[in-house]
Amino acid sequence: MAILSVSNLSKSYKKHLVLDEIELTIDGPGIWALVGPNGTGKTTFLNVITNILPADSGTVEMLGKSNKDPSIFKQVSFLQDNSILFDYLTGYDHLKYVCDVNQIPKTRVQEVAEYVGMENYLHKLVGNYSLGMKQHLLLAMSLVNHPKLLFLDEPLNGLDPTSSILMRKILRELADQGTTILLSSHNLAEIDRVTKQILFLKDGKLIEKDLSEHEITFYHFIVSNQTKAMELLSDKYETDNIPNGLKVQLSNHQLNTVIDLFKEHQIDIFDIEKEVTGSEKLYQEIFEVGEES
C-alpha cells in the first residue's frame, strides 16, 4: 500500500492550469521536498491533495484511503501557513482542541509543546506571537496526532537559526521513526540539509530528482595565504573567495591532492569545512535560471 498515491491530478484557476495530470507515488518513510518558484502551485498542490481545494480531476489516496475521507486526518497532518491561527486564542487553546478532535489526552499538549520548544509561550495569545513562534505552534499542532504522513507548507519561513536547526532535527527524527514527510520550501540550502529527494514543480508537472545523483561537494579552506592558494587552484577547479580563505568544488579523492599542493607551497591550512549541495544547481538547470538572474 502506497503511503501517498496521486493519480492524474489536475487543477486550474480559471484558464490557468496549475497542476497538469500529476502522478506521484510515495511508498515509504522519508523526506521529500517540493520545490518551485513562487506561483508555480506548491501550496495549491498541497491544498488539493489534502482536499482543502477541489481538484478538477484525478484521485489522491493517503494510507490507502481517499483524501475525501476526513478520518484519514487521524494519521495525516498538514502544517499550513499561519493565517489559519486565531489571534485571540492561546497556543494551548489550539493544541487542546486538536487533541480533543483526535481523542488524544490533553497531556499530549504539554508533551508536544516541549518537543517543539514552545512551552514558555504556550499560554500566551497567538496575536502576540512572532512569525517563528507561530511556526512552532503550527508544527506542534501537526505533530499532536503522531502522523504517519506529514505535509508542511514552507515550514522554515520566519525561523531563526536556532529554530531552523531544531526544525531539521525534528524532521529527521520523524523520518527515522517512520513518518513520511512532504515539505515545500524556497530555501534550497535548508533542503540540501534535510533531504536528497526533491520534487520540482514546473509547468504543472512534477519532476522527481534524487539529489545524491547530482550532489556537488564544496570544501571551505581557511588558509594562511589566500592569494597564493587562489592562484594555485583557480585554473584547475571551480573556486570562490570566502573570508580568509577559499571555497573549492572538489570530489573526495581530489581533496588530498589539494592538501598536498598547499603543503608543497607552504600554505598553512587552519580549517576545512565540507558543504554538500546540489538542489540549487538542479534548480538552475530545471528552471533555466542563470547566475546573473
Partner: protein, 431 residues
C-alpha cells in the same frame, strides 16, 4: 461537541465582542437613567403646574373677594353675589389643585385614578354626553372606553401608572384616534408615557423596536462564524479542513454556537433595564394592563370600505406578565429567524457591516411597509402583533402571534437548510 465548545470559546475570547457587549449594556443603562430623569422631571413639572394653578385660583379668589366687598360697599347686591360665586368657585378650584398637587407629590395614585374614572364614566354611561375634546378635535369613544377600563384595572390591583405630561385625564392612546395638525402634536405630548420602573421601561422599549435592534446587534456580533474565517487573509476554515471530523458538523457547531450567544446576548439585554431598575425605582407591577384590540368587522362591500368602529369595536386587556411571556417566546424565534438570515447572507458577503445594513434594511422595510400574513418581517414588531394592532388596522385577524411564531420558525428552518447546502456545496461535502 468538541468543535461546538471550541467555537463557544472563540466567541468568548474575542475582545471586540466584549467591547460591543459592554457598549450596548452601558447604552441601555444610560437610556434607562435618561428616561427616568425625564419622567421625574415631568412629574415635578406636573406638581409645579398644580401648585401654580392652586396659587392662581387662590389669587383669583382674593381678587373676587375684594371685588365683592367693593360691590357690597357700592350697594350692588347683584354684582356682590356674582363675585361671591366666583370667589367660592376659585377657592374650590384652588383647593382641588392643591389637593391634586398633594396627591401627585405623595404619589397617591389611587385618588388620581379615581378622579380620572369619575371624569370618564359619564362619557360611557350616557352616549348623549358630549365627548372629550383636545383643542377642537374629539377623542374617540374607543380610547375613552379603553382608558376607563385601564384605570379601573389600575385601581383594582393598586398599580402605579406611567407618568404622563398632563395633570388632567391620563388617556391611553389607541389606533382609533385620528387627530391632525397641532392637535395631534398636543395629543402625542400628553399621551406620551414614561415608565420609571424596570418592567414598564422594558414594555416601552419593546414598543420602540428594542427587540429587533438588540437581536440585530447580537447577530452582528456572533453571526460571523464562517464569513470571518473564509477571507483571503484569515483562513480559519482551513484550520478545520485537515482535522478528522465531518465538515457538516463544523457548520452546525458554528451555527449553534453563534445562535446560543445571540440568544444569551438578547436575554441579557432584555434583563438589563429590569436589573438596573432594582437600584433605582424598582421593577413595577407585572399586573399592569396591556390593551389588546379585538379587531373590527370588515366591510361586506370590500376592503376599500373597511372602517374601524370606535363605539362598537371591542378590546380586552392582558396582564404585563402574559405580555412578557409572549415576548420571551417570540424573542427565541426572532433570534433564530434573524440569525439564520444573517448567517445565510454572511456566506455570500464577507463584510459584516454590509450584511447588517442589508438585514436591518430588509427587516425594517419588511416590517413597516408590507404588513402581510406571509411576510415574516411583519411579525418583527412583536408589540403590534401581541396587541393585534396590525391585525386590526389591516382587517386581517390571521396576522397574529401564533401564525408569526410558526411562520418565522419554518422560514428559519428553510433558510438554515439553504445555508447548510450552500456551505456543503462550497466545501465539497457531497463529493
Amino acid at each position: 461537541m468538541n468543535t461546538f465548545r471550541f467555537e463557544c470559546k472563540k466567541l468568548r475570547k474575542k475582545k471586540t465582542t466584549w467591547l460591543a457587549f459592554f457598549i450596548t449594556l452601558i447604552g441601555i443603562i444610560g437610556f434607562y437613567l435618561f428616561h427616568l430623569s425625564v419622567a421625574e422631571k415631568i412629574h415635578q413639572k406636573n406638581i409645579a403646574w398644580l401648585d401654580y394653578l392652586s396659587q392662581m385660583f387662590a389669587s383669583n379668589a382674593e381678587t373676587a373677594a375684594l371685588d365683592k366687598k367693593k360691590a357690597e360697599e357700592a350697594g350692588d347686591t347683584e354684582k356682590a353675589e356674582e363675585f361671591h360665586n366666583m370667589m367660592v368657585s376659585f377657592q374650590k378650584s384652588s383647593e382641588n389643585a392643591k389637593q391634586d398637587k398633594e396627591y401627585f407629590a405623595n404619589e397617591e395614585w389611587t385618588y388620581l385614578i379615581e378622579e380620572d374614572i369619575r371624569s370618564l364614566e359619564p362619557l360611557i354611561e350616557d352616549s348623549a354626553f358630549s365627548a372629550h375634546y383636545i383643542e377642537d378635535q374629539p377623542i374617540s369613544m374607543f380610547t375613552v372606553r379603553a382608558t376607563l377600563e385601564e384605570k379601573q384595572r389600575l385601581q383594582k390591583y393598586d398599580i402605579v401608572p406611567f407618568i404622563q405630561n398632563t395633570t388632567y385625564t391620563n388617556y391611553l392612546p389607541t389606533i382609533y384616534d385620528d387627530f391632525s395638525g397641532s392637535t395631534l402634536e398636543e395629543w402625542e405630548k400628553i399621551t406620551e408615557r414614561y415608565g420609571r420602573f424596570g418592567f414598564y421601561f422594558l414594555y416601552q422599549l419593546i414598543q420602540s423596536y428594542f427587540l429587533p435592534i438588540i437581536v440585530l446587534i447580537g447577530v452582528f456580533l456572533f453571526g460571523n462564524g464562517i464569513s470571518s474565517e473564509s477571507g483571503k487573509k484569515k483562513k480559519g476554515l482551513h484550520f478545520y479542513a485537515t482535522l478528522p471530523f465531518s465538515k457538516g458538523r463544523l457548520f452546525f457547531a458554528k451555527y449553534a454556537s453563534g445562535l446560543l450567544y445571540t440568544l444569551g446576548f438578547t436575554f441579557m439585554m432584555l434583563l438589563t433595564p429590569i436589573v438596573t431598575s432594582l437600584f433605582f425605582k424598582g421593577v413595577g407591577s407585572l399586573k399592569y394592563p396591556v390593551l389588546v384590540y379585538d379587531g373590527s368587522e370588515p366591510s361586506p362591500y370590500g376592503s376599500h370600505y373597511n372602517a374601524l368602529d370606535p363605539k362598537n369595536d371591542t378590546f380586552h386587556f392582558i396582564e404585563l406578565q402574559d405580555y412578557f411571556l409572549k415576548v420571551l417566546f417570540f424573542s427565541i424565534i426572532l433570534v433564530i429567524f434573524l440569525y439564520s438570515c444573517y448567517f445565510l447572507l454572511s456566506l455570500f458577503i464577507k463584510n459584516p457591516g454590509i450584511n447588517i445594513i442589508l438585514l436591518g434594511s430588509m427587516t425594517f422595510v419588511g416590517m413597516k411597509f408590507f404588513p402581510k400574513v406571509y411576510n415574516p418581517f411583519t411579525y418583527v414588531d412583536i408589540h403590534k402583533i401581541i396587541t393585534r394592532e396590525i391585525a386590526t388596522i389591516q382587517f386581517n385577524p390571521a396576522i397574529e402571534y401564533q401564525t408569526g411564531m410558526i411562520l418565522l420558525f419554518v422560514v428559519s428552518l428553510i433558510i438554515t437548510f439553504i445555508s447548510y447546502r450552500f456551505f456543503a456545496h462550497r466545501n465539497r461535502l457531497f463529493q
